[in-house]
């Protein structure tokens, strides 16, 4: 595979154009004709392929970030607050 746009069919896009559209490309939000042009550029440009892959991997890695929970003390306070509120609502006025 050739690795520079100059050596392939010209998509009419620069690397800068493609880099700016990377998220829209990955999220399938580009108009059909633009998507074809980006695909054409990526087929011939290893640098832009790397860039688009990296943006996708960052997004996937973020999805794996650890979940966060309240500290035991804060959780206890929240449970107490929740129980007190419910008891208050149920109490005869």
């Amino acid at each position: 595979m050739k690795d520079h746009p100059s050596q392939w069919l010209d998509s009419g896009l620069t690397c800068r154009d493609v880099a700016e559209r990377a998220t829209n490309y990955l999220e399938d939000r580009l108009p059909v004709f633009t998507k074809i042009r980006v695909g054409l550029h990526l087929a011939s440009c290893a640098r832009c392929r790397s860039y688009v892959v990296q943006i996708g991997r960052v997004s996937s890695a973020l999805r794996g970030f650890p979940k966060l929970y309240p500290s035991p003390v804060n959780r206890l306070r929240l449970r107490q607050g929740f129980a007190a509120r419910h008891a208050n609502l149920m109490a005869p006025s």
């Binding site: 880099a19 939000r29 973020l62 979940k67 419910h86």
Partner: protein, 243 residues
């Protein structure tokens, strides 16, 4: 009063009588069946349901709050206040949006308010500047500025062919750099990245939560992803240099 404040006031501003509270039914139009069930359990006082709610959304709230306040400790306080407001106003939740959107709206209002009180005006200056959607995500100096190859890479990304998302997450250096990059993002970029990528919220719901258009969402998301990508690029470069 801004839209967030109005929504917040609508949701917790008045306290109807117990009889009217009990007569309020959740309108299911904006809610999934799972949310409908969860709300019913919450209104019965089911503490397990409340734990589930907290477990589902606490991380999102902490990470969102960090975009508005000085540090993690203050963010924890803001989120604790948010949960207390949720407890107080749960019976007035009408189901016009998802439960997550409603809770997030309360958090944003409280975090902005706390941020202003802390005089952290930089956050809001950044908010204004990042409303300019014409700014490019990728540093223009990474491209050739003139000549036959103008607009093509001058300083291309280094290939990470062996860096799967799992490998990135296993690298303490990469995770540290990513977290620092996220913490350094202005609130407008940070909130879209957290909601869309970290929490996996659908684009339509993110737009509803933040009151932005889908075009605006993806412009911000790409800028945020690029900044985190640069952080990973730096981390991997450091690892290689040390390695």
């Amino acid at each position: 009063m801004n839209a967030d404040a109005i929504a917040y006031t609508e949701s917790i501003g008045h306290s109807p009588s117990i009889s009217s509270r009990k007569s309020q039914a959740v309108k299911s139009s904006g809610l999934t069946k799972a949310e409908d069930t969860l709300i019913a359990r919450l209104r019965r006082g089911d503490e397990g349901a409340f734990d589930e709610l907290v477990n589902q959304h606490h991380g999102m709230l902490i990470r969102m709050a960090m975009g508005y306040v000085a540090n993690r400790e203050v963010a924890e306080e803001v989120v604790q206040d948010t949960w207390m407001a949720v407890i107080e106003s749960l019976d007035r939740f009408e189901g016009r949006s998802s439960l997550r959107t409603w809770v997030c709206g309360i958090l944003i209002h409280k975090a902005k308010d706390r941020g202003v009180r802390e005089r952290r005006h930089t956050t809001f200056s950044a908010f204004e500047s990042y409303d300019d959607d014409n700014e490019e995500a990728v540093d223009p100096s990474r491209f050739q500025q003139s000549g036959e190859w103008a607009g093509h890479w001058a300083f291309p990304p280094q290939p990470w062919d062996d860096q799967t998302p799992e490998k990135l997450l296993a690298s303490k250096q990469a995770v540290d750099y990513m977290q620092r990059a996220i913490e350094a993002l202005p609130a407008t970029l940070r909130e879209v990245l957290i909601l869309r990528d970290v929490e996996g919220v659908e684009a339509k719901e993110v737009c509803e939560m933040l009151k932005i258009t889908e075009t605006n969402l993806y412009v911000r998301l790409h800028r945020a992803r690029e900044r985190v990508r640069v952080a990973v690029e730096t981390a991997l470069g450091v690892e290689t240099a040390l390695g």
